[in-house]
């Protein structure tokens, strides 16, 4: 049913697409975790103006389509397709990651902060030794979700000629008129990234839960 000869005949294109999707996903994962954590800190820091900046970022970014963010970088700031797509992914996913981290921190009862602070720990120390180690357990599953979404969302690169899997899949299917098989093959390539990522998330969840 699935025509795998397409995969062999267009192997170079699929491979280049796969590599670019993988690279874009990895860069974007790293970037969005860093940016997301910064935004989350902004949102819960004991300093009002920072809270506002964080809230504005989250509300603005998560409420517009990823495609439009990528278009702004591609057509507006005139970055190349790959760069524009990866930057868009970072900025967009960071908003969701910030929310997940914030939710994890807020899930730790207030009494713990109060107890830590009254026992003489500074705000930073409270975070480092009391709140974050507990929060991370709560945060791992939603962060895993966001990571998987990010990998799949990287298909947005195909729209701005970012030379990713989806871009080459479109070209191959349009040139060969084989549609079903091409996209099934593409699905397998995405699974090759997302399934290991899924297992990694599960592993982290198990390890971090048992250590406390």
């Amino acid at each position: 049913m699935i025509n795998f000869s397409i995969l062999i005949n267009y192997w170079d294109m699929f491979l280049e697409g796969f590599q670019n999707t993988l690279i874009a996903s990895m860069i974007a994962l790293l970037g969005s975790f860093v940016l997301g954590t910064i935004i989350a800190v902004f949102r819960i820091a004991p300093f009002r103006p920072l809270n506002w900046v964080g809230a504005a970022y989250v509300e603005f970014i998560r409420n517009i389509p990823l495609l439009l963010i990528v278009f702004v970088f591609f057509y507006g700031f005139k970055f190349g397709g790959f760069t524009a797509g990866t930057l868009g992914l970072i900025i967009y996913t960071a908003a969701f990651i910030a929310e997940a981290i914030r939710a994890g921190i807020l899930s730790i009862p207030k009494g713990q902060t109060e107890a830590a602070r009254s026992s003489g720990l500074t705000y930073i120390q409270t975070m480092r030794y009391v709140i974050l180690p507990q929060a991370i357990k709560v945060v791992i599953p939603p962060l895993g979700n966001q990571s998987l979404n990010l990998v799949k969302n990287s298909s947005i690169l195909g729209v701005v000629a970012g030379l990713d899997l989806m871009y080459y899949a479109d070209l191959v299917s349009l040139h060969t008129y084989v549609v079903f098989s091409v996209y099934i093959i593409v699905a397998l390539f995405y699974l090759a990234i997302t399934i290991p990522l899924s297992f990694l998330v599960e592993y982290l969840e198990r390890r971090l839960t048992t250590s406390y």
Partner: protein, 268 residues
């Protein structure tokens, strides 16, 4: 005797009706032949309503305008003596040949490329517009024709279009970036994501008119001649239309219409 004549008449009528229903080709000169058009004193033409420069309906006035429409009007003027003796019907690439064969329209003037395959189904007039693939560049670009497209050129095209296949053959060294549709490809050209955009010149001329910082350069490097389609076997009308086209070209009226819509004089 009366009875015999009566039955003969009814018999012939049955045959005529049967002929109408079955053989389309025999009665091609019936409802949309030159005589029929003159009798009804109106030319019915199938045109596009959604194609820039060639046949586009103005949403506010409902008026359809374009190169194809002006050519149609000239034909009505020559054949019927008045350019307003014309009825336009909207066709799409899918509906135009069936509508012509049904006799709903007398002719198709709707950016239709003459191909061998289509010639089996319809009559074509002489070429009335030399369409083909060309290049759109920012004014002042070093690219003047397809020969200037080399290894350090980035060409923009639309995913899966024949233009993108053609450009790979004509300029295999160039980098090709393909987009979802023409608007996005043009936007990418404006954003400096590539050096030139390639597709049919008819579309490129439309873009050049949207933004006059851009121009179409070089000759077409593929041949997609547009012709007027007439019902198969309707040679009277085909000849009449060819005569009109010749007259238009000789009188300079054709160049006038061409310049009005395309924005420049016809090349060669």
């Amino acid at each position: 005797m009366k009875k015999l004549i009566f039955s003969l008449i009814s018999l012939t009528m049955i045959f005529v009706l049967a002929a109408c229903g079955g053989g389309n080709e025999e009665e091609a000169n019936g409802e949309s032949g030159l005589d029929a058009i003159k009798e009804r004193d109106k030319l019915i033409v199938g045109v596009k309503y959604d194609t820039k420069l060639f046949g586009l309906q103005d949403p506010s006035t409902k008026e359809v305008e374009g190169f194809d429409i002006d050519i149609a009007k000239e034909i009505a003027k020559e054949i019927l003596g008045d350019e307003s003796k014309i009825e336009l019907k909207e066709v799409t690439s899918k509906t135009r040949i069936p509508m012509l064969n049904n006799g709903e329209i007398d002719a198709i003037i709707a950016t239709m490329t003459i191909t061998e395959e289509r010639k089996k189904e319809v009559n074509f007039s002489d070429v009335y517009f030399n369409a083909g693939q060309s290049l759109l560049v920012k004014k002042g670009s070093p690219i003047k024709s397809i020969d200037d497209v080399g290894a350090d050129t980035t060409v923009l095209a639309v995913k899966g279009s024949t233009s993108s296949i053609n450009i790979r053959e004509k300029a295999p060294d160039a980098t090709l970036l393909e987009f979802e549709n023409y608007q996005e490809a043009f936007l990418a050209l404006k954003a400096g994501q590539g050096d030139t955009l390639t597709t049919d010149n008819a579309i490129l001329y439309g873009m050049a008119q949207q933004d006059n910082n851009y121009e179409v350069v070089g000759d077409t490097f593929t041949d997609e001649p547009y012709g007027i389609a007439i019902k198969k076997g309707n040679d009277d009308l085909t000849e009449a239309i060819n005569e009109v086209l010749n007259k238009l070209k000789e009188s300079g009226k054709y160049d006038e219409i061409y310049e009005k819509w395309i924005g420049e004089k016809p090349k060669n």
